[in-house]
Amino acid sequence: MRPFKYSKADDAGTAITRVSANAGAKFLGGGTNLIDLMKEDVLHPLELVDITRLKYADIAKTATGVTIGSTATNAITANHELIRKNYPLLSMAILAGASAQIRNMATNGGNLNQRTRCTYFYDVAMPCNKRQPGSGCGALKGINRNHAIFGWSEKCVAVYPSDMAVALAALEALVHVEGKNNAKRTIEFADYHRLPGDTPEKDNTLQTGEFITSIDLPENEFADHSYYLKIRERSSYAFALVSVAAALSLEGNRIKQVRIALGGVAHKPWRAAVAEQWLTGKEATEANFRAAAEAELKNARPLEHNQFKVAMAKKAITRALQGAMQGGVYGLEGGAENGMPK
């Protein structure tokens, strides 16, 4: 690992000033991704400003929902009573990610700012526009089994790895950030992460020195009917091939409102807007779930090695919606009937 300066920040203003003033400086949260990338020489910051001691760890009710602090850990967040009871989708998604050890370390802000797990990004001997703009994309014509089927560009076909963020996309969370000179702004979750386009080096719309202070979860009617389904190559502790956050609000058996977001398929959490629109106002039946998934996946653009993700995503959407109908009880979403293992 290359040498760097380490400091602890006592308040956000100091941390933001330090990171704004030094192009080589980064905030250090749990470090579960950053330290790894530094060991691999993918990232080599000159300075780390430790923000884990800042007072942004509260999880509390607000007038419009619940707010979660950026420096609260993933484990504390997933297990907070307010989250378990009111936003079980978020608990499930966080708990589907990483391992117990990593969830104890990782912060909520850091989770949103994870880098891709694309192997070409990690391998410094390979070209990667995200790591080194202009060097090319090794995955576009390379081994792209784990890569995007939506929203990719010739410059980058990587996928974004967070599970938590897929649930936050479905919950239409709001991200509060603070920048230089106390400048605060709020970013709608759909606008926080971005598609690669011509600048895949930018994962999100944060400006230099901006710091996530909290994430707001608006009130909703989804707590009784939501489910996070994650399909991966082993049953735990692996990144998603495809994941689905599904949330329904019902009037009898009619779908009043539905939210569907996919993970593992794009450079950002992918809102399945076509499927949502197709389902709104219809009966909550398996046949309708399947038809909505078909409609969504018509727009998929798979690469050479990841065509399987198209069929997998259709079944996963159907299953996740069934899981939501079953009240979000783990394991009741009926994998076998859909021809898929649990």
């Binding site: 690992m1 290359r2 040498p3 760097f4 300066k5 380490y6 602890k8 250090l28 749990g30 470090g31 579960t32 330290i35 790894d36 060991k39 691999e40 780390l48 430790d50 884990t52 484990a75 997933a78 297990n79 009573e81 378990r84 009871k85 079980p88 608990s91 499930m92 708990l95 589907a96 990483a98 391992s99 117990a100 050890q101 990593i102 104890n104 370390m105 707590a223 994650k230 049953s235 735990s236 502790y237 979000g328 009880v329 783990y330 394991g331």
Partner: protein
């Protein structure tokens, strides 16, 4: 020439010790491999690295063992002074900002129980408890541990009395090579308190129900231990060990010593 000592420059005591350890003929190693008796002696005393060093010349080997301990580092680049509680005792240390907690424990504090497996947060062999929660020491910078309480595998037992989880791992043979075991045990100890607090996992049936303590099924134990990889595949026995300590009744062990071996 007959009196020429086999190993020059050694004291009599060293020579006797070494001759006792060494096979009569080095060619025996090269042509027919080590006899089991010698092999066991060698690894008992020295570790298997001696096998390779046979061929390098014994003087080098002995010279290496007499090298004085390195002087403490001075003028550390980007040095950070860190004070924390380590297994119940106050500890201060000057570390390079790059030093992980794992390296600080192993290389600076002589606590080699925590293991370096992948060094990338994928295997769990380096698991320790920080402020009572399990974390990966390979991805934790030592500098971030200021004022925290770190518990390693060395800190679990009460004197000569094993922690119940350590005893259960022995009873249930929860390991083969043992390399992942310190991480497995630290992780399992934290798992117990998480279950006591009612913390959920991905396979918890009802995420919205927050009763505590939780009674964990085997599926729950497996999911919660998924951050600790065992290459020997001792998983069923590890689950047995955890179930025994987590539950309220003894779990039968699935093995026993053959008659006459103890």
């Amino acid at each position: 020439m007959e009196d020429q000592p086999k190993f020059p420059d050694l004291t009599d005591a060293e020579r006797r010790a070494l001759e006792d350890l060494m096979p009569d003929e080095l060619s025996e190693i090269i042509t027919s491999g080590l006899k089991r008796r010698h092999f066991l002696k060698l690894i008992t005393f020295t570790g298997t690295s001696l096998l390779a060093t046979h061929l390098l010349g014994i003087e080098q080997l002995m010279a290496r063992t007499t090298t004085p301990a390195p002087a403490p580092p001075t003028g550390v680049e980007n040095g950070v002074n860190v004070a924390f509680n380590l297994n119940g005792r106050a500890q201060t240390l000057l570390v390079d900002s790059r030093m992980t907690l794992l390296d600080a424990l192993r290389e600076r504090l002589a606590l080699t129980g925590s293991k370096k497996g992948c060094d990338q947060g994928q295997c769990g062999a380096c698991t320790v408890l920080v402020d009572g929660r399990r974390v990966l020491s390979c991805l934790t910078l030592a500098a971030t541990c200021e004022d925290k309480a770190v518990t390693t595998i060395e800190g679990l037992a009460d004197g000569d009395t094993l922690h119940p989880m350590q005893a259960a791992f022995m009873k249930h043979d929860g390991f083969q090579c043992g390399y992942c075991t310190p991480g497995q045990i630290c992780s399992a100890v934290a798992l117990l308190s998480e279950a006591k607090n009612g913390e959920a996992s991905y396979v918890t049936q009802h995420a919205r129900q927050t009763e505590k303590p939780m009674k964990l099924s085997d599926e729950e134990i497996r999911e919660r231990m998924s951050g600790n990889i065992c290459r020997c595949g001792a998983y069923p026995n590890i689950v047995d060990a955890i179930r025994e300590v987590h539950g309220d009744k003894a779990v039968a062990q699935v093995w026993q010593f053959a008659d006459g071996t103890i």
